[in-house]
Subunit: 380 residues, 2 copies
């Protein structure tokens, strides 16, 4: 699982003179191992920290608290991967995840015969405790070097394995949107629509699935988004429903705007313009195009239609995170490539008055795009 | 909000010669600030790391990514608290949460006129980047010292403010259990019961609420627990439903076993024994009792009844985490005190055959306990 990711990484590390490395970033570890780290309830109580991945001599060793080991079994079965679970929960002695993690690191890294060289560290994520262990005890004669963010550009082009995971998530958000379209009604609260969406998603998945992002009536939070609360859906309310699921550690994304009653003429006009802007944005996507050019042209489209330009990105990549490179934003000179998976999401927001956002996800192909979102974004 | 927690902490730091300190542990920061850090979808994409809390001269400064600032506003309004949000998401420049966090730390800690002294660090959670910034740039002439785990014993006795938060959570898990008792039926899957529970909890709360822990038919996972999946509930199935909610950053807990059809004579006998064991356990709780004595006596009760003893704890504290001190386990010499909030949860498990666990939460009072869970744990 995810061997291609590790091959890309190994090539990069070699080219930059890194002999050994410790990955501690949540997204780096997910991407390198294919492990779906549980997130729903926050940090594991018994862990000595997030999972860590050690690279040395073409091999990757994953250190995880025992409760998470089940999620990492496929990685451990790969020829270039070793899974090292350490003791978390026990009733025989005080909880000591950090000590057990340290013991596991000593056993693997401390027994290495490699000397010196350059050791890469994700310094923005590795803890001081782990760093002290490496730098003061386990590794002698080496030079340590920050490698934060190095994998982000490698993550942009998705493998077939990743695409399959992403497609499962997009299928779930499609189900969520079909439910939202049915569920919106005067007298319900935002949270009621959200609950219906989450129910449909989890029924289809047959398991717990984290659900993001927005479910708000359009007259609050500057009309843009936010978590569902007890706000009532009123006649003429528009509901911005922006959904992500996280299955297999991968994110989908998607947005549509739904109406509690027949949309007003202004809502119809805005919705049509946003729909046209999205179609226009999609028409711009192909390999070789620069991200900021797409961004600029779609903003111009909205301006030309006589509306205020949206205050957020035009789009972004998705993968092990819900927002990653390539960012479709005003400054980005990233050049689009075949195999990237991106979202496009123009919107029109007039605070206190009206809002509409429509979003599609797509894989960039040799000539254009393959649309991955199938949800109905039309006016009712 | 949570000023008493900060007063207890300041007294501890002073007594141990710590002049300044950086708290980086997720539960430390929640407990010290009252901030309910969002967890549902994993780490914020735009943050430079988890929230950090700096202590100096009786004052606490919280560094959080701007997206989380709303959740920390009450802390920032306290006389001993300052909230410092830093830039996360932006479309004007590359995402650079770590750099913006560093800038914020420089502005606050770098301008301090304090020199030398002993600076406490939660070394198991603080990142190397932040530690390097403090140790190599911002603080001169000081000695750094690990303070990991220091707050755990301070967290055991709950304040009235915490008790109110806990009670809101226990009310939600009560609702979840009432739903589970109704929802269990032959032909449904574990996940279907879970979805019904989560729906009822979120409808009552009027917002998204993370939900843990177990919802499994009793013939899998050694009969003890696990996340709900697509396993079918069959005739004679028992369903172990162990629920926690996380509202306001605080955890409830609770467990009961439900039956798809009229329980078998063996299920009835086991359920009655577990119920008696729970009542017996509760009867043992009062200030001055040692945790391991409770643990030993309840295990003996199960053994005396002719059943194998459960392989987990007899109980544990709850608060900003779902499992914390005092642990009611074989080794613990912790002495119970008034104001602690603990769970007790004896069970009987015969792998492949039968399982039953019943769990109550309680506040320890001057003479005994106030039960905080109100769910119906009786046989149908």
């Amino acid at each position: 699982m995810h061997q291609e990711q590790r091959q890309r990484t190994q090539a990069l590390l070699k080219s930059r003179g890194i002999d050994r490395a410790l990955f501690a970033n949540f997204n780096s570890v997910k991407w390198l191992t294919g492990m779906a780290i549980p997130v729903q309830l926050g940090p594991n109580f018994f862990a000595g920290g997030p999972p860590l991945l050690w690279y040395e001599a073409g091999h990757f060793t994953l250190f995880v608290v025992d409760a998470y080991a089940e999620a990492a079994v496929p990685f451990g079965q790969d020829p270039d991967g070793t899974l090292v679970p350490y003791l978390g929960y026990t009733i025989e002695q005080p909880i000591a995840g950090a000590e057990h993690l340290a013991t596991a690191l000593r056993k693997v890294i401390g027994k290495s015969t490699a000397k010196g060289g350059t050791i890469g560290l994700e310094e923005r994520d590795v803890t001081l405790m782990v760093s002290n262990l490496l730098q003061n005890e386990l590794i002698s004669g080496g030079t340590f070097s920050a490698i934060d963010g190095w994998l982000e550009s490698l993550r942009m082009v998705k493998t077939d394995e990743e695409l399959a995971k992403l497609k499962e998530n997009f299928a779930l958000t499609d189900i969520g949107h079909a439910t939202a379209r049915q569920a919106i009604a005067v007298g319900k609260r935002e949270i009621d629509v959200w609950i219906a969406i989450h129910e449909a998603v989890q029924q289809a998945a047959g398991r717990r699935v984290p659900l993001g992002n927005d479910c708000v009536v359009s007259d609050r939070r500057a009309n843009i988004g936010g978590w569902p609360l007890e706000y009532n859906i009123e006649p003429n309310s528009a509901l911005t429903v922006d959904l992500s699921t996280v299955l297999h550690g991968y994110w989908s994304d998607s947005c549509a705007t739904y109406y509690a009653t027949a949309p007003t003429p202004q809502q119809v006009a805005v919705h049509k313009t946003v729909s046209e802007a999205l179609d226009f944005a999609i028409s711009l996507i192909r390999p070789g195009v620069m991200a900021k050019e797409v961004d600029q042209k779609v903003r111009q489209f909205i301006t030309d239609a006589g509306y205020p330009v949206y205050p957020h990105h035009t789009g972004h990549g998705v993968g092990v995170s819900g927002h990653e490179a390539p960012r479709i934003v005003p400054y980005s000179e990233e050049v689009l490539q075949e195999g990237m998976v991106i979202m496009l999401e123009p919107g029109i927001y007039i605070p206190g008055q009206i809002s509409c956002r429509l979003e599609d996800g797509m894989r960039i192909t040799a000539n254009g795009v393959e649309i991955l979102t199938k949800h109905d974004k039309s006016l009712p």
